[in-house]
């Protein structure tokens, strides 16, 4: 977690008025970049991460020592080729990888902020990241890209800054968090808050950590990222390191063991309070409500080209919700492409090796980059 991460960060001195009414200033935004910014500054791509992601999109994540979360998409000779593009990714505010969040130390008390941290929204996250773009002196991004909560940030970014990106690619996301989405997030939050070590969010004061609750939250969420077919094919009723049932509550089944493992590795890298704050931000996301019920109005001012992608087996952010974004864009004659990619890997498809997704995404980005450069927009 946050403690001693040696990460690139900037301190935003401009006050940022949050949706909850509070104002923050002199707060850190941690980020990472890949590739080189060209002299015209026309090759920058801002990637937004999802709920449990971070700024380490590609290469080795220095905290987990694993590959960056979007290594299939971003890197040398990958669909977003860092030989060609300058890729920027920031840790969202509310996060726990160096940006201002509940695990940030309050300098006056020397303690973590905990649940004294203000409620933040997708809008606040995007506004904070815009400060980073200003700091990097990039007048106009070539593209903003992200999946899941990252896709929500893409939509919010274009709505807030209609002339700051030439291309926007929201993937496997929604313009408004559904009851089902909120329900699953609430389940995760309740698991954390039910852990006696949560201590109303001030666990670090007692050198505690609500590991159990956070692990359960992660296990439940992880199921929502997969598909029934994917689970059945990968695990079925296969037993874990045993030939027969043990008639007890150990992890007899591989799927149980898998989920327990996912839960246990997650608590080593993620802060429980960040999980509460970020899921809340997702639940509060309703872009059409921000525009008085008319989603099209969010994009009225923009000339940004859109490419919306969904996956057949994603039931968390299903194609129908992605299509609503397309419909809103079409109804104002915006420039939008859309495809639903065939995959049985569920919502997680956008993070995984799904060849038709990777090819379509890469080809589209590269040919659009070529066309836009030829036209010199």
């Amino acid at each position: 977690m946050n403690k001693n991460i040696d990460t690139k960060k900037i301190i935003i001195s401009n006050p940022l008025k949050l949706d909850c009414g509070k104002e923050i200033n002199n707060f850190p935004v941690a980020y990472e970049t890949y590739g080189e910014l060209n002299s015209e500054k026309s090759n920058a791509i801002l990637v937004f991460h999802a709920l449990t992601g971070d700024q380490y999109v590609s290469g080795k994540n220095p905290i987990t020592n694993k590959d960056g979360w979007w290594s299939y998409v971003v890197g040398e000779n990958k669909p977003i080729d860092t030989n060609k593009f300058f890729v920027i990714c920031a840790n969202v505010i509310g996060g726990c990888m160096g940006s201002y969040g509940p695990s940030t130390i309050n300098e006056s008390t020397g303690k973590q902020i905990g649940t004294d941290f203000p409620i933040i929204t997708i809008n606040d996250m995007v506004n904070a990241q815009y400060e980073l773009i200003k700091y990097l002196e990039i007048e106009k991004l070539f593209a903003v890209v992200g999946g899941s909560m990252g896709g929500m940030q893409v939509l919010q970014f274009v709505a807030n800054f209609p002339d700051k990106a030439k291309l926007a690619i929201p993937i496997a996301c929604t313009s408004s968090h559904s009851a089902q989405n909120i329900a699953f997030n609430e389940l995760g939050r309740q698991a954390i808050m039910a852990d006696s070590k949560w201590e109303n969010g001030f666990y670090s004061n007692y050198k505690l950590n609500p590991d159990k609750g956070l692990a359960v939250a992660r296990m439940a969420a992880h199921i929502t990222y997969l598909s029934e077919k994917g689970l059945q094919e990968k695990f079925g009723r296969k037993l874990q390191d045993r030939d027969s049932l043990r008639y007890g509550f150990e992890a007899d089944f591989q799927i149980e063991s898998y989920l327990r493992y996912q839960g246990s590795v997650f608590v080593d890298r993620f802060d429980a309070n960040s999980y509460l704050y970020i899921t809340r931000a997702m639940d509060y996301f309703d872009l059409s409500k921000q525009y008085k019920g008319n989603l099209s109005d969010a994009f009225k001012e923009t000339k940004t080209k859109f490419f919306v992608i969904s996956f057949t087996s994603d039931w968390l952010y299903p194609t129908s919700e992605n299509r609503e974004i397309v419909i809103a864009l079409n109804s104002i004659g915006a420039d939008v492409g859309f495809v639903e990619i065939e995959s049985d890997k569920g919502h997680d498809s956008f993070l995984l090796d799904v060849p038709s997704f990777l090819k379509t995404l890469g080809d589209f980005i590269n040919s659009t980059y070529k066309v836009i450069n030829e036209r010199r927009i």
Partner: protein, 198 residues
């Protein structure tokens, strides 16, 4: 194919907004993009073809013309093109109406079932026609509602749809269709191209 593309391209004014419905692999879109206008979109039902188009950088939406044309506002395109696809719809009349709503002008091209080669197959062989332009067998054809140039011509007049231009194509020979030569063109052309407006 090339001839059809040229004719369509000639019907379109430069730098206008175009939607290609049933754009397939995007060959016509690409052709128009190079020759006429950059402002061109596609709608296509096949995932694989949509991915091919997107890979070429073409802005295409995966969708079904029968249900998804509704989402475009009225007259949001200068031209809407439906190239050799009308016969594949469950409800061609509905699709034509949707096209006329979305486009200020509509270009429809029709593989002519009245072409003499087609007629001869049914007349002499007694089997459903299979030609270069209509390569499917009766049991696997996507074509649900075949029509002739004359059928479409009559359809337009009965529905008060204005025909601005109607062109007949035989091999690479191009000619205009009018009321007086309709029967002949209906026999002698493999493709009809219509520029219409509601």
């Amino acid at each position: 194919m090339k001839e059809e593309f040229n004719i369509i391209s000639n019907l379109i004014e430069e730098n206008t907004r175009v939607l290609d419905v049933g754009c397939g692999n995007g060959d016509l879109m690409k052709f128009l993009q190079e020759n006429k206008t950059k402002d061109i979109r596609g709608l296509e039902i096949s995932k694989e073809k949509v991915q091919n188009c997107l890979s070429k950088g073409l802005t295409v939406i995966e969708g079904n013309a029968e249900s998804d044309l509704k989402q475009f506002p009225k007259s949001s395109f200068d031209y809407v093109i439906l190239s050799q696809t009308l016969q594949a719809f469950l409800n061609p009349e509905l699709v034509i109406n949707e096209l006329l709503k979305v486009g200020k002008k509509v270009i429809v091209t029709i593989p002519n079932f009245g072409y003499w080669r087609v007629r001869l197959q049914l007349l002499f062989k007694g089997t459903m026609p299979v030609t270069e332009n209509l390569p499917h067998e009766w049991y696997n054809t996507p074509n649900l509602h075949m029509c002739t140039i004359k059928d479409f011509y009559n359809f337009c007049s009965s529905k008060n749809i204005k025909i601005f231009k109607s062109i007949a194509l035989k091999k690479s020979r191009i000619s205009e269709i009018n009321k007086s030569n309709l029967n002949y063109k209906n026999l002698d052309s493999h493709l009809g191209i219509f520029l219409i407006e509601s």
